[in-house]
Amino acid sequence: MNEILEKLATAIERGKVDMNSPYPPDLKGEIGADELTKKALDEGIAPTIILNDSLMVGMGKIGDKFEEGKAFIPDMLIAAKAMNAAMAHLKPYFESGEIELKGDFIIGTVAGDLHDIGKNIVRMVLTGSGWNVIDLGADVKADKFLETLKEYPEAMVGMSALLTTTMMQMEETTKAIKELSPNTKVFVGGAPLSEEFSNKIGADGYFPDPNKFSKFLASLT
């Protein structure tokens, strides 16, 4: 692998955002994902190569560590922050179509629930994996999901809930989505949920781990 791409992958994996970021301490003063991405583009490396052969490699490595229990949510978040810094340089190429997005993904925390940390983590991981994520925020009613789905008819939908009282909203929303668009995939996540609950409400899957979910979505494309 090209040396810059290798360093960039490491910067993502270790969460080195830019030269000014104090974390991780052993890389203090060194350039991070921000500068390395710019450098790679300046050297003429194709944006698609930067994304696929470096950024996603870095995210994949930290994601695998997370799955293995060797890294935790803070490590995923700091890596996602570095990824976002790199993606800012690639944004024009996404907009021009030079880099093709994997697809649209609508995400939100269901009505009555204001917990959005878990949903935000999934958003960051999916954005970093090349999805166009439409984040509806928290306390999202079924109508809002439907309205957005009409705007992005090819999108998949992800719903989050952290309360046993609000997870019931998922059933109503899933039914409404399937009535509007039977082929739309609906996924659910959140601490009180389970695969059994997902099956019961007619959703297409429950994922407790953002990295596994990202891998699963990639397998659908």
Partner: protein, 231 residues
């Protein structure tokens, strides 16, 4: 019915914040946090000191109107369908208090803004820190209640909250009926979520034979629980 109520505003320094709990909740159950995270955590704790507005209080339920029968906890005629994890240790109570504590609204804003403004790691740590501070406020209040009842030669149980120990969070609606309006400036949404977000409500049993026991996390079916100390 209007119950006798007590309201407090403890200072931040009076709270016993255990950063080790925060570190464990971040996933580092062995207590070993990566280099650099400690500095972030300590910086956030310093900022938190200026943003937290602790408020807490409790209402006293008259003696002999709290009882447990067949796994149902009855407080002044209101039945709470708790799990046996809550009901069993309250069997010997002769009275009870319903309590509420909060870190204040400002904290919610800080957490959300930090996350949304591009620092998800800090936003995540703030969220966990908020939960720990809310628990510390509830602990401070429980100690206060303990002193109060000890003057009457009574003891207190552990504190139990809807949403934990098998007790449905939906029952928080019944609990809030005992508080005066806008008690501690905490409101309850239809979904039983409290605003401010980082708030704790619950019940403490009172009686001459009450005692504090270890939370029986080994028997609990809830896998993802803030209070879970199995790890």
């Amino acid at each position: 019915m209007l119950y006798q109520s007590f309201h407090f505003k403890p200072t931040f320094d009076e709270l016993e914040i255990n950063l080790n709990n925060v570190i464990k909740s971040m996933g580092y159950t062995d207590g070993n946090i990566p280099d650099g995270y400690n500095e972030i955590l300590n910086e956030l704790l310093e900022t938190a000191k200026n943003l937290v507005r602790p408020q807490c209080g409790f209402v006293i339920i008259p003696q002999n109107s709290s009882a447990v029968s067949n796994g149902i906890v009855t407080i002044d005629g209101i039945e709470f369908e708790t799990d046996r994890i809550v009901a069993s240790p309250l069997k010997k109570m002769t009275g009870s208090v319903i309590f509420l504590g909060t870190v204040g609204q400002e904290f919610d804003r800080w957490s959300k803004e930090t996350f949304d403004n591009g620092d998800p790691l800090a936003g995540y740590i703030i969220d966990i820190l908020g939960s720990e501070i809310a628990e510390a406020i509830a602990d401070w209040l429980a100690r206060r209640i303990g002193y109060y009842v000890s003057e009457k030669r009574m003891k207190i149980s552990n504190r139990y909250s809807p949403g934990y120990c098998g007790w449905s969070v939906a029952e928080q609606q019944k609990l809030f009926n005992f508080f005066p309006e806008n008690f501690c400036e905490v409101t309850l949404m239809e979904s039983s979520l409290m605003k401010p977000h980082k708030s704790v409500s619950g019940i403490i049993g009172i009686g001459p034979d009450m005692e504090w026991i270890d939370y029986p996390c080994d028997f609990c079916r809830v896998e993802h629980c803030y209070k879970n100390r199995k790890n």
